[in-house]
Symmetry: C2
């Protein structure tokens, strides 16, 4: 499992270029052929570094997972750090709208991804939760943040690669869908920050109550 110097470097460079292409053209548009071309190499050369496209995507996932811990000082209280980590997850959705889906759909299978997962769970423990409560709150938070991230993307930050023509605005004559129409302004991108914070508050408040109780 130990890297042989150049190999790990290459893997990372390839994954980074893949993420770049995904950011630019969408996940569906990423192909081994195009990725090879972008790196000045034949598609098949990539199979020397990754066994399959699936493994390459695990490599891209690793890059996203690493960002969960970005810019979080060690010396802050655990609950504060946890909050920042989940806020980071949302930021990843915004910065990498086409790649974000990898985070909630692909299992963590690589060393680096599992290491980050380990540290995240350790932070729950540091906050005072036992294994069961850590599992529970992790699931609830990760669920909420994943779903919120996906909504943010569908919401309008990024276009879907294979979207069909009609969008809500074309549709809503307000006669037919009054409730949908009235809700649209409150779900604009600008408003989503507040809603996300509100949801996160809900969960963290419950966590704090829980900690005080025991």
């Amino acid at each position: 499992m130990k890297a042989r110097g150049k190999r790990t470097l290459e893997r990372r460079v390839i994954a980074q270029k893949a993420l770049e292409l995904i950011d630019r053209n969408g996940l569906e548009a990423l192909s081994m052929r195009k990725l090879g071309a972008a790196l000045g190499v034949e598609a098949m050369a990539l199979y020397h570094h990754f066994e399959s496209k699936a493994e390459l995507l695990d490599g891209v996932l690793e890059l996203l997972v690493e960002q969960i811990e970005r810019g979080i000082p060690e010396n802050k209280p655990p609950l504060w750090r946890l909050r920042r980590m989940f806020e980071n997850m949302r930021r990843i959705a915004i910065e990498h709208p086409h790649a974000f889906i990898l985070l909630p759909t692909r299992r963590f299978r690589t060393q680096r991804a599992l290491e980050a997962y380990e540290r995240l769970l350790q932070t729950f423990r540091d906050a005072g939760f036992d294994a069961e409560a850590s599992a529970r709150y992790f699931r609830v938070l990760a669920g909420f943040v994943s779903g919120a991230g996906l909504a943010e993307i569908g919401g309008s930050r990024a276009l879907q690669p294979d979207a069909t023509g009609v969008i809500l605005e074309d549709f809503s004559d307000e006669q037919e869908f009054p409730r949908v129409t009235e809700v649209v302004p409150y779900l604009r991108v600008r408003k989503l920050d507040q809603i996300f914070a509100f949801g996160l508050d809900l969960i963290f408040d419950a966590m704090k109550r829980d900690l005080r109780k025991t």
Copy 2:
């Protein structure tokens, strides 16, 4: 936009067969060619009923969206009905693990999907929320349920179509990932019901507090 009898029927039959194939072989494995074959027809015949594969997927999405309202009596209180709708969303994740992803990732663009969305939002209004609060709680609930649904799937109910070899159980020597290891038993499929209910309680409790306040 009005249907011409047979046409709508056909569309539905095709979408249903597509969902069946997705359930059996995964979303990635669905192709126009295979779907045609399953219906005893050439792939190109499908383009007479759907303009593209994207539109076909919108048709499959419709089938899922309809199930959100399944088995919910009109005469129950709005909050109760809302809870049931979001529980239904999770059931959809469990019953259609490979297709569920369509729900949080594809925008609602078809008549039937928007109608269901309209009724869902109307139920928030019936419960006593204004448009803004409806938008907020809808987003938080939909976010949580989507994320929880995806986690449920990754968790183990369905295999990923392009999963790579290693899974956590192979990995965790408990030396290297003690926190990950200790959390595994609490995230087993059997336990996810409780965690889901716990998360939903959190949000519905906040909704009830909110309603009492005003």
